[in-house]
C-alpha cells in the first residue's frame, strides 16, 4: 500500500534498465519500497540493475518482458500482479531510434512506433485493469517533450511519444475515480550527469562486478533528442526521478522536468508551422 506521501511499498518497472527508472527505484527504496519487479528483455544489464537494487535492501526479481510482443503482455504482467499488490507501475521502456536510418527503412521506424506506442498501449491496458481490480495504485508513464510538438529532427520518435502521451491522458481520465492514479511525465532532453555517472559506475562495480555505464548512457539517450543537447532545458535522470517522487506525493497528473518546460512548451505548441519549421530546435 502507498502511504500518505504516495511512497509505494511495491514497484513494477517496465523497461528495467532505464536510467530514470533505476534512479526512481533507488529513491523509492530509500522511502518505503520493499518489493521491486524489473521487467525487460533478459540481459546482463537487467541482472546487474536487479543486483544493485537488491543491495539497497529490496526484494528484487526480474521479469521477462518484451514490449514488441503484445500478445504475451497479459500473461507476463498478470503473473506479476497475481503475486501481490503492485502500488506503482513505471513505464520506462522506449527506444529513440535513429531518425536518419528510420526514414530510409520503414520497418525500423515501425519498430520505434511499436515499442514506444503499441507496446505501451497493450501493457498499459493490462496494468490499468489489474490496478483497477486492486482498487489503488499509480501508473507512471514516461512520455517526452518530443511528443508535445513534433519536430522535423525526430518526428518518428516524437510521433510515437505523442501517441503514448495522448493514450496515457485518456487512460488517466478513464480511470479517474477508480482509485488508480495515472501520471504523465514529460522530461526534456535527459543526459546523465558526469559526476553522478562516475559514482553510479563505481557503485555498480561494487554491487555486481560489471561496469555498465555505457548501457546507462544508451538507456538515458532513449529520451534524448540530440539538437537540444546544450540548452538549459535539459535534465538528468536523477532530476526526473526526484520529480516522479514529488509527483507521486502530490498525486500530480502531469509532471514536466524541468518545470519550466511547461511554460516553454505551451508557447511552442502554438507557434504556426511555417515559423516552427524554421526554428533552430
Amino acid at each position: 500500500m502507498k502511504d500518505a506521501f504516495g511512497a509505494p511499498q511495491s514497484l513494477l518497472v517496465l523497461g528495467g534498465t532505464s536510467e530514470i527508472a533505476l534512479a526512481t527505484a533507488r529513491r523509492l527504496i530509500a522511502l518505503r519500497t520493499r518489493t521491486v519487479r524489473l521487467a525487460g528483455r533478459p540481459s546482463p544489464a537487467l541482472e546487474s540493475a536487479a543486483a544493485e537494487l537488491h543491495a539497497l535492501g529490496a526484494d528484487v526479481r526480474t521479469v521477462d518482458f518484451d514490449a514488441l510482443d503484445s500478445a504475451s503482455h497479459e500473461t507476463t504482467l498478470g503473473k506479476v500482479f497475481a503475486e501481490g499488490d503492485i502500488d506503482t507501475v513505471l513505464f520506462a521502456f522506449g527506444i529513440a531510434g535513429d531518425q536518419g536510418r528510420d526514414e530510409e527503412e520503414p520497418l525500423a521506424a515501425v519498430r520505434v512506433a511499436q515499442t514506444n506506442y503499441t507496446g505501451a498501449v497493450s501493457a498499459g491496458l493490462v496494468c490499468a485493469g489489474a490496478l483497477q481490480a486492486q482498487g489503488h495504485g499509480s501508473l507512471v508513464v514516461l512520455s517526452s517533450v518530443a511528443g508535445e510538438r513534433v519536430r522535423r529532427a525526430d518526428f518518428i520518435y516524437g510521433s510515437s511519444k505523442a501517441g503514448l502521451d495522448a493514450f496515457t491522458q485518456g487512460l488517466g481520465d478513464a480511470l479517474h475515480g477508480t482509485g488508480v492514479h495515472v501520471m504523465v511525465v514529460r522530461p526534456g532532453v535527459v543526459r546523465p550527469e558526469p559526476a553522478a555517472e562516475t559514482v553510479w559506475a563505481a557503485e555498480t562495480v561494487r554491487a555486481a562486478g560489471t561496469v555498465r555505464a555505457a548501457g546507462a548512457v544508451r538507456a538515458a539517450a532513449g529520451f534524448a533528442s540530440a539538437p537540444l543537447e546544450a540548452s538549459p532545458l535539459t535534465t538528468t535522470p536523477d532530476a526526473v526521478a526526484e520529480a516522479i517522487v514529488t509527483g507521486l506525493r502530490r498525486r500530480s497528473e502531469t509532471v514536466w522536468v524541468p518545470g519550466s518546460l511547461r511554460a516553454v512548451m505551451s508557447a511552442l505548441r502554438h507557434v504556426p508551422r511555417p515559423l516552427f519549421r524554421r526554428l533552430p530546435i
Binding site: 502511504d3 500518505a4 475515480g177 482509485g179
Partner: protein
C-alpha cells in the same frame, strides 16, 4: 441495502482507494456481505474520522455501519446503554444528557461511531482518569469471518484483540456501555499558561489528578527559551447546584450548532510561515495567565473543532497527516528532544495537543500507555516530511514509545513490533479466527498486521 463504488480516504484525505461500499441495515445484511466478500476482504467503517487508512479497503468491500444506528436500551438507573455499532457519540449525547448521563470517553470530535470508538480504542481528555473507551464496554456483539455473531465479554482474549483491533477481528455490531453520571451539560474550565515545556510537564504532574479532563495546546512554533510554551485547559462537569440561576433552568441542554463549513482550501502560505506564527502568538497571548472556574458549554470545551464542519479540507487536495505518539514516564528527555526538533524545523503544525496519559487500555493494539502523548496535524504536501516523521518514529521507538495506529497513514512497518509488544498475540489470534483474511484494510496491508 445500498451498494456503490466509492473512492474513500480517512479524515486526513491522503491515499484515496476505491472499494465497494455496502450499507447494511440489519445484522443479516451485514453477515451476508461478510460471507459474500471476495478475495480482497472487507472492513467496517463508521463516520470516517480515523485520520489514516484504517477504514479503507482497496478493491474490496467496506461496510458502512452508519445505518445500524438504533439505541436499544438505556438503563437510566445504572447508566448502562445497549446500542448498535453505528450510533454516533453525538447521538448518544443528545439522548443521554437529558437523562443525566454522559458518554464515558469522548475524543476531540463527537462524530465517531461506537463501533469505531471500540475498534480504535479511542481516548479523550479524561484518559488519565477514565482510561480509553473499551474499558467502559461490558460486552459487544462481533460478526466474525464465517458470518456468525459472537457475544464477546470484557476480559476475554477476543475482546482484548478487538478493542483497538482496528476492525480486523470482525465487525462490531453492538455494544453495552457504562456511562458517566452528570448533573449538567456545563463545564467548569481552568486555564493556565505554561511558559515552556518543563513548566507544562510540571503543572500536568502536579494538578492533573484534580480534574476529569485535561489537555494542553502546545505552540510548536515557539523556539529558544519559549520552546513548548502551552495553554493548559482542564475541566470538570459542573454539578447542578453550582450553576448560575440562568443556566440552572435547562441544566442538561445540549444543542451544539455548527458554523459554516471550512473553505475547500486554505492557501499554504496561511497554514505555515508568518501567519501561523502570528496565530499561535495571538492564541498564546490571548489565553489568560491563570483563570479558574470559567463556565463553558460541553461541546465548546470538548469538541471545539466540531463547530467547523469539514475542517480537514483546509490543507487542500494532498490532505494532512496526524502524528500522535506516546512515550513513557521517565522519557521526558525524548519528548523534549522531539518538541525541540519540530519547533526548530518550523513545521506548520496545527491542533497540537499534549496530554499526560494514565493507565493503558486492555486492548493488545490499544494506543494509550502511561506517559506523555503529543498529537499534531501536518500538511502532507510538506517537502521532506516523510523522512522527518520517520526519524521521529525512531526516537519514539528507542524511548519505548509508540505511534497511534488509528491516526497513522505512514508508519514504517518494521517498527511496529517494537512499538506494540502484543502484536504477535494479535497476529496469531487473527490467523486462528480468520485464516482466509476476510477482514482486511489498507492499514493492515500497509503494516502487514
Amino acid at each position: 441495502m445500498s451498494v456503490d463504488t466509492v473512492s474513500l480516504t480517512g479524515w486526513g484525505r491522503t491515499a484515496p482507494t476505491t472499494a465497494l461500499r455496502f450499507r447494511p441495515r440489519s445484522y443479516e445484511e451485514a453477515a451476508a456481505t461478510v460471507r459474500g466478500c471476495g478475495p480482497r476482504g472487507s472492513i467496517a467503517r463508521g463516520l470516517g474520522r480515523a485520520h489514516g487508512d484504517a477504514a479503507q479497503n482497496a478493491g474490496g468491500s467496506v461496510l458502512d455501519m452508519t445505518a445500524l444506528n438504533r439505541i436499544r436500551t438505556i438503563d437510566a438507573g445504572t447508566g448502562t446503554v445497549v446500542c448498535d455499532a453505528g450510533v454516533s457519540l453525538h447521538r448518544l449525547m443528545e439522548v443521554l444528557l437529558p437523562l443525566g448521563w454522559f458518554v464515558p470517553v469522548t475524543p476531540t470530535t463527537r462524530y465517531v461511531t461506537v463501533g469505531g470508538a471500540i475498534g480504535a480504542d479511542i481516548h479523550g481528555h479524561n484518559q488519565h482518569v477514565s482510561g480509553s473507551f473499551s474499558r467502559h464496554v461490558q460486552e459487544l456483539e462481533l460478526l466474525t469471518a464465517g458470518g456468525e455473531i459472537r457475544t464477546v465479554r470484557s476480559g476475554t482474549p477476543l475482546f482484548d484483540a478487538t478493542a483497538g483491533g482496528l476492525g480486523l477481528t470482525g465487525v462490531i455490531l453492538s455494544a453495552t456501555l457504562r456511562c458517566h453520571r452528570v448533573t449538567s451539560s456545563w463545564m467548569s474550565v481552568d486555564t493556565e499558561r505554561a511558559v515552556d515545556l518543563d513548566d507544562l510537564l510540571e503543572r500536568l504532574c502536579a494538578g492533573d489528578h484534580r480534574y476529569r479532563y485535561s489537555a494542553a495546546w502546545i505552540d510548536l512554533r515557539a523556539r529558544g527559551r519559549a520552546t513548548g510554551r502551552s495553554v493548559l485547559t482542564r475541566g470538570e462537569h459542573v454539578p447542578r447546584y453550582a450553576l448560575p440561576a440562568r443556566a440552572r433552568r435547562t441544566p442538561l441542554a445540549f444543542r451544539p450548532g455548527p458554523l459554516p463549513a471550512a473553505p475547500a482550501r486554505v492557501p499554504e502560505a496561511l497554514l505555515g510561515g508568518a501567519p501561523a506564527a502570528l496565530l499561535n502568538e495571538v492564541r498564546y497571548r490571548g489565553a489568560p495567565r491563570y483563570r479558574i472556574g470559567e463556565l463553558q458549554k460541553l461541546a465548546a470545551f470538548l469538541h471545539p473543532l466540531d463547530g467547523l464542519p469539514q475542517w480537514s479540507r483546509a490543507p487542500g487536495r494532498t490532505g494532512s497527516v496526524r502524528y500522535q505518539f506516546v512515550v513513557g514516564h521517565g522519557q521526558e528527555e525524548a519528548l523534549r528532544r522531539i518538541v525541540r526538533r519540530i519547533s526548530q524545523r518550523r513545521c506548520p503544525a496545527s491542533n497540537a495537543l499534549l496530554k499526560r496519559f494514565g493507565t493503558g487500555g486492555p486492548g493488545w493494539l490499544s494506543f494509550p500507555v502511561p506517559g506523555w502523548t503529543l498529537a499534531l496535524d501536518l500538511p502532507a504536501a510538506l517537502p521532506g516530511l516523510a523522512r522527518f516523521l520517520d526519524s521521529l518514529d525512531e526516537e519514539v521507538a528507542t524511548a519505548g514509545g509508540r505511534v497511534c495506529l488509528a491516526k497513522d497513514s505512514r508508519l514504517r512497518p518494521e517498527l511496529l513490533s517494537a512499538m506494540y509488544p502484543r502484536l504477535a498475540d494479535f497476529r496469531s489470534l487473527r490467523a486462528e479466527l480468520d485464516p482466509d483474511g476476510t477482514f482486511r484494510s489498507d492499514l493492515s496491508r500497509r503494516l502487514s498486521l
